[in-house]
């Protein structure tokens, strides 16, 4: 099992190396290597999952496998404690499930990219980055300690940066890449400090050893500090408020990348890390409450912005933020299984929606939904799979999103967070509305661009369905979006004796719920959201412009994304830049002066010493004898009666 786990990480790494150094000029070969590597990873991760599943019921952690090797060992130096860092593999239900999700989506996206990136000058580079990402992400998933997690955490951040800025000649893309990188740096810095403190307090990075060590330190202030700092890492990576600003801009990257990294896997890494280190967070109730409310707030906040966006990818990006908020909310109210369940189903339907959007963009070369329209007739497969994805996201029975969203709503209700429950319902309504606003506008209607801008048709007359490399992943993901939720349903539980919840939660039984009240309320709400979208954008019984005008200030607030970017820009331009100027001055005149002086003096000394090297043999011999003589005299003074001292 350990071998498969290592293999599934190394296959994409091998592909990355091979593409970067060997097949860079052979574009198609690069793609084939990358797809093969992702396929190997997927097969191996399936074997892991089967291995974990076939373990006896209730085996808990013993169902998996854990192996590690000493990576770096620094002995203690006096008062300074040494450092023991291991690199290991932890296979358990959680990591097995996550690696299946990651490698499956990566596999499908890599295939899809074959069609999407066709003819791009950076074709090989693109696939090498995809493989590097798969390697980093899978390494993160199977890591058995915080240190290794941090290393791969940074690596996925790097891949995200490289891929957002893939078309680096475009200023908006390179700006977005930098924005993502810098925003994540802030969060990662806190995360890093947290991880270091973890080691200082507990003497280990290992997840298993930490969970027992933490149990003994419950209630202490330092535990709260560590948990809070570590928690900031996931906030950045999963783009939760106030770190959310980078994700919408990250849509500058190629669309398959948005599907893989910025919807299904990397942004879910934050959720995964919280699940992985659940023992740490659970022991600090304050952090859990913050997590729940921050998640709930982000869900509502992002969903409200999504209501007014016009760019198809940005709508989906805000939707991702909102759904990640749901997951945080679930984790915060204490239900790891609900959070992970939603992560799983969301990975499938959100990847589907992004790939569908990619298919549309590929065909129309347009991202504004109001300049599309009537695409449903031209692109049947894309349209139908997109609708399935949207229904799953809206939580319509019996699609995947229904089960996981209900699980979250039920968890918040049963843990006594009525406010969050109501908020969750509101988000469900908004989600259904903005998704079907998109669908009725882009896929519905008859003419292109007929709705908002008054129609400038025939521009998209050439639009046609994408090729099989793109449609097959869409179909596979659509099937998963329909059925993946069933693993968390009561039917699955009664048929197989276990369900997603009991499986993933370290063997602790947590049965699937189907609370009829919750289920019916959320279904009714979602359906009414769709109905309202149909009224406004399908039938056009209500004029969108008139609603926007009626809600003037609110609309502008949403349209400007609550002015968060502007606030950050102000903070950075005024405060950070001001500080930067001051430091620049200090650096330039004081620090540089000091070190230039030091360096100059050192160099001068070197030039003087160099003169000893005359090239004359006699001189060299003299130095040898003189050195021996001096050493003898110096060391034997004591013996000779100390006449020199």
């Amino acid at each position: 099992m350990v071998e498969s786990a290592i293999g599934l990480v190394l296959a994409p790494l091998a592909s990355f190396i091979l593409i970067s150094f060997v097949t860079r000029r052979a574009a198609i070969l690069s793609a084939v290597i990358s797809i093969a590597a992702a396929g190997i990873s997927f097969a191996l991760s399936l074997s892991l999952l089967v291995g974990v599943l076939s373990a006896p019921a209730g085996a808990g952690l013993a169902a998996g496998a854990h192996a590690s090797i000493q990576w770096l060992s620094i002995p203690s130096i006096g008062r300074f404690r040494g450092l023991e860092i291991a690199m290991g593999v932890l296979v358990d239900p959680l990591s097995a499930t996550m690696s299946v999700i990651v490698s499956l989506v990566a596999f499908l996206v890599t295939i899809y990219s074959l069609g999407y990136m066709k003819g791009d000058p950076g074709f090989s580079r693109y696939f090498s980055y995809l493989s590097l990402f798969a390697f980093s992400m899978l390494g993160l998933v199977i890591a058995d300690n915080y240190f290794q997690t941090f290393v791969f955490w940074e690596l996925v951040g790097l891949c995200s940066y490289l891929l957002i800025g893939f078309w680096y000649a475009k200023p908006s893309a390179s700006d977005a890449a930098r924005k993502a990188f810098v925003t994540n740096r802030w969060a990662d810095f806190a995360f890093m400090v947290g991880v270091i403190l973890l080691f200082i307090f507990f003497g280990t990075f290992d997840f298993g050893q930490l969970s027992s060590a933490i149990a003994g330190a419950r209630g202490s202030a330092m535990l709260a500090l560590v948990a809070a700092l570590v928690f900031v890492g996931p906030l950045g990576k999963s783009a939760q408020f106030p770190f959310h600003v980078w994700l919408p801009d990250a849509m500058e990257g190629p669309t398959p990348v948005s599907a893989l990294i910025h919807a299904a896997t990397m942004v879910a890494a934050g959720v995964y890390l919280i699940a992985r280190g659940f023992a740490l967070f659970q022991s600090v109730p304050g952090v859990m409450e913050t997590m729940a409310y921050l998640g709930g707030f982000t869900a509502l906040f992002a969903a409200s912005i999504a209501l007014v966006q016009k760019d198809i990818k940005r709508i989906l990006a805000y939707s991702t933020l909102s759904q990640l908020g749901y997951m945080f909310m679930a984790l915060g109210v204490g239900s790891m299984s609900a959070g992970m369940f939603h992560l799983t189903t969301h990975a499938f339907f959100k990847a589907l929606l992004f790939l569908g959007a990619g298919s549309v963009i590929h065909a129309t070369e347009e991202q504004d939904i109001f300049k599309m329209g009537g695409l449903g007739k031209k692109m049947k497969i894309t349209a139908w799979t997109f609708v399935i994805g949207a229904l799953a996201l809206s939580g319509i029975f019996p699609l995947a999103g229904f089960w996981s969203k209900d699980e979250i709503l039920f968890a918040s209700l049963s843990s006594g967070h009525i406010g969050l429950y109501v908020l969750g319902i509101a988000v469900a309504f908004m989600t259904a509305f903005y998704m079907f606003r998109l669908i009725f506008t882009a896929f519905g209607g008859t003419a292109f661009g007929g709705t908002a801008s008054g129609g400038e048709p025939t521009e998209h007359a050439h639009v046609h369905e994408s090729g099989p490399a793109m449609t097959i992943p869409l179909i596979v993901l659509a099937v998963l979006s329909v059925f993946a939720g069933l693993i968390g349903s009561p039917w699955f539980q009664s048929a197989f004796g276990f369900s997603f919840g009991s499986f993933i939660f370290f063997g602790r039984p947590e049965a699937s719920h189907l609370d009829m009240t919750t289920a019916s309320i959320s279904t009714v709400v979602a359906l009414s959201g769709i109905f309202l979208a149909w009224l406004v954008y399908g039938k056009k019984l209500l004029k969108a412009e008139r609603i926007a005008a009626a809600l003037g200030p609110l609309y502008r607030l949403l349209d400007h994304k609550f002015y968060i970017d502007e606030i950050y820009a102000w903070v950075f331009a005024k405060i950070m830049l001001g500080l930067g100027i001051v430091f620049d001055w200090i650096d330039h005149y004081i620090v540089d002066g000091l070190f230039d002086g030091l360096g100059g003096a050192t160099r001068a000394l070197g030039r003087k010493l160099r003169l000893t090297q005359s090239g004359r043999l006699q001189g060299y011999a003299l130095v040898i004898f003189a050195a021996v003589a001096i050493a003898v005299v110096f060391i034997s003074t004591d013996l000779l009666g100390g006449f020199l001292k």
Partner: protein
């Protein structure tokens, strides 16, 4: 008599003799093959040292030890000989008359190094030393068309003779004081006569003889001139093989033969180390010739590695061994690049490396990694090696020494980086691509892989060196 303790030496000597005979038997036009045969033979010897490591033991009643430490060093030397013979393939092409002798001399020098690593007696020590040095002298002067090479050879043999004289004088004084050539007898006898001036003078002279080999300041002055004059592969062999052999002998001498921990004696090693670090790094700063720069860098590195003997503990010796491995690969990588560059018509002036990044990205990248390793910048291995050495010195309370080494290491970054700057950032006048031979490519690839491997995943070699050090240090 049981020859199993010296089987590697016997095979190495057979290889050296065989190459000589083979060279005579091969018709003149076909002698190109000799270099390949030499490389293959050394590779086979390396394999033998792993496949049949032997069970330890000694030869001639303790004259000669076959223990983990000597085995470690022998593997190091054989690796160096293998890589250097690969590196020499192109250089040896120009030697129509004396090609087989070149590789044969390499083999004899290798036997001498192996003897130094195993010697447990002053006589075998001295024979090993001369067997190593004399072939190196010839190799240094091998490029008969170059005045510098001849000059270097002359300087080397004269200075070698002087240092041997110092060493021999010291040995005779020790023999006079103890009446024995064996290490263990000497240490036993010295326990009672450690305060004898004869012993002190003798010990200092013995240490001075080996300080010359490792080019520690103030016994370093030969090395810049000789590195500069010698053909690049020979300079590489001097820098890694001869130096490591000097350390092999010093470790054993200072831990098992001489009263190194009594009186002011530790101060001697300490001053050698400090002087080497300071002087080596400072004089390296204004250098304009790459080979001279490497000579000073190797002097400075002798200082760092001596820190392990200053500590004289298990961890200290382990750190030395670790450092010697990474030092070997970093230097071999740099010299291979220089020698490939020389084959393409380049000189060893630093300014001629301009625009290497464009002319041969692979070579430039390899140089970069190896230079960063010597500078001690992660993820190259040099960082870990320096860390182990400094950590051990600091653990023993000599924080000032660790701080000094750190400062000097910062100074060294300045000259390594300035080479990197020339390679990466400056534009070449001649932008033609450099063809790197397959053999040199292989050497560069191995050096880079080991350098990065030891830097990213240090645990296996660390454990290996700790086990070896643990088996010999009390």
């Amino acid at each position: 008599m049981d020859f199993s303790a010296i089987r590697l030496e016997l095979v190495a000597a057979l290889i050296a003799l065989g190459l000589l005979v083979f060279g005579l038997l091969t018709p003149r036009g076909k002698r190109e093959v000799i270099g390949y045969i030499a490389a293959a033979a050394f590779l086979g010897l390396l394999a033998l040292s792993f496949l049949a490591p032997g069970g330890g033991g000694s030869f001639q009643g303790g004259l000669y030890l076959d223990d983990p430490l000597s085995l470690f060093f022998k593997r190091l030397f054989i690796t160096a000989a293998f890589l250097v013979s690969l590196m020499s393939l192109r250089f040896a092409k120009s030697l129509e008359e004396s090609r087989s002798e070149f590789f044969s001399l390499l083999g004899f020098s290798l036997v001498g190094m192996m003897m130094l690593a195993s010697a447990n007696d002053f006589v075998s020590l001295y024979i090993g030393l001369e067997l190593m040095s004399l072939p190196l002298v010839i190799l240094t002067a091998y490029d008969r068309t170059s005045g510098k090479s001849t000059e270097a050879g002359t300087k080397y043999i004269l200075l070698s003779a002087i240092s041997s004289a110092v060493l021999l004088f010291g040995l005779s004084l020790l023999f006079g004081a103890t009446g024995s050539f064996s290490y263990s007898d000497t240490l036993k006898a010295l326990g009672s006569v450690a305060d004898d001036p004869l012993v002190v003078i003798g010990s200092i002279m013995v240490v001075a003889g080996f300080a010359f080999k490792i080019s520690a300041v103030p016994f370093h002055m030969w090395s810049p001139d000789i590195y500069e004059g010698a053909p690049a592969p020979v300079a590489a062999f001097l820098a890694v093989g001869s130096k490591a052999a000097g350390f092999a002998a010093l470790i054993r001498l200072l831990l098992f033969a001489l009263p190194a921990s009594s009186g002011d004696f530790p101060l001697l090693i300490l001053s050698l180390s400090v002087l080497s670090m300071v002087v080596g790094n400072l004089i390296a700063l204004p250098q304009t010739n790459m080979k001279r720069l490497l000579a000073y860098s190797s002097i400075a590195h002798a200082g760092y590695i001596l820190l392990g003997l200053v500590a004289a503990s298990t961890a200290g010796v382990a750190a030395m061994l670790y450092y010697l491995v990474l030092y070997l690969f970093a230097n071999v990588g740099i010299f291979a690049a220089l020698s490939a560059f020389g084959e393409a018509g380049g000189s060893s002036e630093i300014s001629s490396l301009k625009g290497m990044w464009k002319r041969s990205p692979f070579m430039a990248a390899s140089l970069l990694v190896c230079l960063l390793s010597l500078a001690g910048i992660p993820p190259a291995a040099g960082f870990i090696g320096k860390f182990y050495l400094l950590a051990e010195v600091a653990r023993q309370g000599k924080l000032w020494l660790a701080a000094l080494a750190l400062v000097m290491s910062v100074v060294s970054i300045s000259y390594y980086i300035s080479v990197i700057r020339v390679i990466v950032m400056e534009k070449a006048e001649d932008e033609s691509r450099i063809r790197v031979s397959l053999a040199n490519k292989a050497i560069l690839a191995v050096s880079v892989l080991v350098t990065l491997g030891m830097g990213v995943f240090p645990a296996p070699i660390t454990e290996w060196t700790r086990a070896i050090a643990g088996s010999i240090v009390r």
